[in-house]
């Protein structure tokens, strides 16, 4: 076996390139800057483009343009940049433009602390678009996830024609870690589908039995329309409320109805455990340390590590909590995702261990929560 020392951000960049990303635009911001650095060394020699935009709005805008020209695109920032991305994120959702957006979270609110970790954007990523449409958010736990989940994010963005977020964290992104590159589980590449030939192309028409429109690039032989306005299947503004309702509903169901296909998670179960810890991101590692210690004691706990955060993988959560009497949600914020768990499990006691001070949640703190409640 051979090992490689890799930073989380570089793993994101390499995962993106492996998935076929050929366009990146970003604006420097700690702790996401090293993704821009890595893309700048990786893409140009491959004939790809890496652009430093004049600001975050321009960076994601350039990505949306390039995506509409048919390229696989990515941008990366931190919380303050996600704030600026917001209008373009809404565009990508509503107009079904594939893009991978990396949020290397840092301690907020606002400019907060550039070099302190947090998972404070978890709800912001879900709800930070006008219209409140659902999005896909994946959360890596380690450097291997940074590679593989970014790859998966591209596949999902292509398949569902939507933005897919990587909710990273300074503590994963800027930490170097050993990784066995040969052991990575790399999926096949997915690319957006072209329409079958022989008929008029309508940019938002969905074939029977499908939830996602076919794609033709701007710049191809057939003129293609794209618009941020409320549109019908022909890509022109519509005022037909039935058509509007149909498209809006489809934007939701195409993602929600498919979540079981991409509910990435790790379930660590001890048969007699009555308590389940639910964690994601860097905090899942402290939880895993606790799981490993407790599993051979009289008070073992089970652990569910969620790597698909949005849409909420409800089936996975229900399955993991079937024989569980008590749930503890561990979060590096003031308690955001815990509300989803409470919603799904109204009959079970759900407790929260939340910490938002720039430090990692320690295994000791989790242990104390288990013992003392």
């Amino acid at each position: 076996m051979s090992l490689t020392l890799l930073e989380g951000n570089e793993a994101v960049a390499r995962g993106a390139v492996a998935a076929g990303c050929r366009f990146f635009a970003g604006y420097p911001i700690t702790p996401a800057t090293t993704i821009l650095n890595a893309m700048l060394s990786l893409l140009p020699p491959l004939g790809g483009v890496c652009l430093q935009g004049e600001d975050e709005i321009a960076s994601i805008g350039a990505c949306l343009g390039a995506s509409m020209a048919g390229l696989k695109v990515m941008t990366a920032t931190s919380g303050p940049g996600i704030s600026l991305y917001s209008e373009q994120i809404s565009f990508a959702i509503g107009s079904e433009i594939p893009i991978v957006i990396v949020d290397v979270q840092r301690l907020g609110p606002s400019t907060g602390s550039a070099t302190r970790g947090a998972d404070g954007d978890i709800n912001f990523l879900r709800w930070g678009n006008s219209g409140g449409m659902p999005v896909i958010v994946l959360a890596p736990v380690n450097v291997a996830d940074c590679f593989t989940l970014t790859f998966q994010a591209f596949n999902l963005a292509e398949k569902f024609r939507c933005p897919v977020f990587i909710a990273s964290n300074k503590e994963i992104a800027m930490t170097r870690e050993s990784i066995d590159m040969d052991a990575l589980q790399i999926p096949d590449r997915v690319t957006r589908t072209a329409p079958p030939g022989g008929q008029n192309f309508l940019p938002f028409q969905v074939r029977k039995g499908r939830g996602v429109p076919d794609f033709l690039p701007i710049g191809g032989e057939v003129p293609v329309r794209q618009t941020s306005s409320t549109h019908g299947i022909n890509g022109y503004i519509t005022t037909d409320h039935n058509e509007i309702a149909g498209i809006i509903k489809r934007l939701k169901t195409k993602i929600h109805s498919a979540v079981d296909q991409f509910s990435f998670h790790e379930s660590h179960t001890v048969k007699k455990a009555e308590t389940l810890i639910i964690a994601y991101g860097i905090s899942a590692r402290a939880a895993k340390a606790v799981f490993n210690v407790q599993k051979t004691t009289k008070h073992p706990v089970s652990l569910l590590v969620l790597k698909t955060i949005w849409p909420v993988p409800e089936a996975v959560i229900r399955r993991a909590t079937r024989d569980i009497k008590r749930v503890i949600v561990v979060e590096m914020n003031l308690g955001q995702y815990v509300h989803e768990i409470e919603r799904i499990l109204p009959d079970k006691p759900v407790e929260l261990l939340a910490q938002m001070d720039g430090r990692l949640i320690t295994p000791q703190a989790i242990k104390e929560k288990i013992i003392n409640g």
């Binding site: 004049e54 990505c63 949306l64 050993s178 618009t227």
Partner: protein, 431 residues
């Protein structure tokens, strides 16, 4: 050539709107150039100028207010062969000012048509970035307080190599547009027009008045000699082709046995400029040569060469879950700044922690074994102390072996730097 106007969606502007004339003139320009629909993408954003894309049977991308240039940039970089024509209003110039400046500086081959009618037509005639001070518009007195922007002067100052100011009623407008599209680089046309729906309700502005106003301004007619330079996309592709391909990250085979069993935690406490992060990386690489899992978590200020620099390292035969330091095997104390940032850590140290401490640095009282060293006396300079301290951590039975350390240095450094590093390790290892 055939018209590229969309027969099913004829232009619908307010009666007398200059945009209507410009739409048809743009179509004439396309026809004169012999351009076909699939060779053109119309990029627009919000406002009356944002209706343009729907009137043409070309590729089209309509996006958010002021952001048309951002999409156009991505499209053109992805498809250099496309004619990318951007329409924006004076409103879009105001909200998207940063993108205008960037487009001028970048000089990507885009054509920007600014449909400048001196107010926000669509939202009720509020003042825009170009509304004259004495105009009466839908923003009360506010426009009297803000100086209007001369788009052309701004574009020129920002480096646009092609700037034209013209009237939407000019008989040569189609030629003007054609020249701008044919120009290889960023071209901007500031096209003045009348907004009868809003602006001329209370202000007198006619095609003739526009003509005389333009005549009083310094002419802006096309190529700006001092800004002429290579087009961005071509330049980009030339420079990119010279970049060397980056290889896969280095894989390190395990070929040593670690000197100690179990998880080893090491903390390097120093200051910026001591190459703490590099030393931490070397320690991790040394771990990899023994097949150990490793993590490196760093803390430093955003300033360079000022403030503390700390590296927290874990080497373990098991998968590393928690990346924080719980029970350090060794702490290397190299500078007071690092110690001050981690004072609390010393309260919990046990007897089995080794503290390697540079002479003169004060640490809080603790139970750990303290091993004072004077690297200065050995003639080792401060920027090398962190690396030198790894030699002490490679003493028999410590964190790593000398073989691991040497192998790590050989993977990280080459040539003279490697020689110096090996020499340094030898010198410090003798302590």
């Amino acid at each position: 050539m055939d018209s590229l106007l969309n027969n099913e969606r004829p232009p619908v502007f307010c009666p007398g709107c200059s945009h209507d004339r410009i739409t048809h003139t743009l179509d004439n320009a396309f026809q004169n150039m012999g351009l076909t629909a699939e060779k053109i993408v119309m990029v627009s954003d919000i406002g009356c100028s944002g209706l343009f894309d729907t009137f043409f049977n070309t590729h089209a991308l309509h996006g958010l207010h002021g952001r048309a240039l951002t999409y156009a940039t991505g499209l053109k970089l992805a498809r250099p062969d496309l004619n990318v024509v951007v329409t924006m209003g004076d409103g879009g110039q105001g909200i998207g000012g940063a993108h205008l400046l960037a487009a001028c500086r970048r000089n990507l081959d885009l054509t920007l048509l600014v449909l400048n009618n001196f107010n926000f037509g669509m939202t009720g005639g509020q003042y825009s970035a170009t509304t004259p001070l004495d105009a009466e518009v839908g923003s009360g007195f506010l426009n009297q307080l803000e100086h209007p922007l001369d788009i052309c002067q701004v574009a020129r100052s920002a480096g646009a190599p092609y700037v034209t100011r013209c009237s939407g009623y000019g008989s040569d407008l189609a030629d003007e547009i054609q020249r701008a599209i044919e120009f290889k680089g960023f071209s901007i046309l500031d096209i003045w027009g009348v907004c009868p729906g809003r602006y001329t309700k209370k202000n007198r502005l006619t095609p003739k008045a526009i003509e005389s106003m333009l005549a009083e301004l310094p002419p802006m007619q096309g190529v700006v000699a001092e800004n002429k330079r290579q087009e961005y996309g071509t330049h980009y592709r030339e420079a990119a082709a010279r970049q060397r391909r980056v290889g896969d990250p280095l894989k390190i085979e395990a070929r040593f046995a670690p000197p100690r069993p179990g998880r080893q935690e090491v903390v390097l406490l120093g200051s910026a400029g001591q190459r703490i992060i590099t030393a931490g990386e070397i320690l991790c690489l040394a771990g990899l040569t023994a097949g150990l899992q490793t993590t490196q978590k760093n803390e430093y200020n955003i300033t360079v060469l000022r403030g503390p620099s700390i590296s927290e390292l874990i080497l373990s035969p098991e998968e590393i879950d928690y990346t924080g330091i719980e029970k350090p095997s060794a702490i290397v104390v190299l500078d007071q700044e690092g110690v001050n940032r981690r004072r609390a850590m010393f309260d919990h140290l046990e007897e089995d922690t080794l503290v390697v401490k540079i002479q003169g640095v004060e640490i809080p009282a603790c139970k750990a074994q303290i091993h004072g060293v004077d690297l200065k006396a050995l003639g080792i300079k401060k920027p090398d102390w962190a690396l030198a301290s790894l030699a002490i951590l490679a003493h028999p039975g410590q964190i790593i072996s000398l073989g691991m350390l040497t192998a790590a240095l050989k993977t990280r450094f080459k040539g003279k730097i490697l020689e110096n590093a090996l020499e340094l390790i030898k010198k410090a290892g003798a302590i």
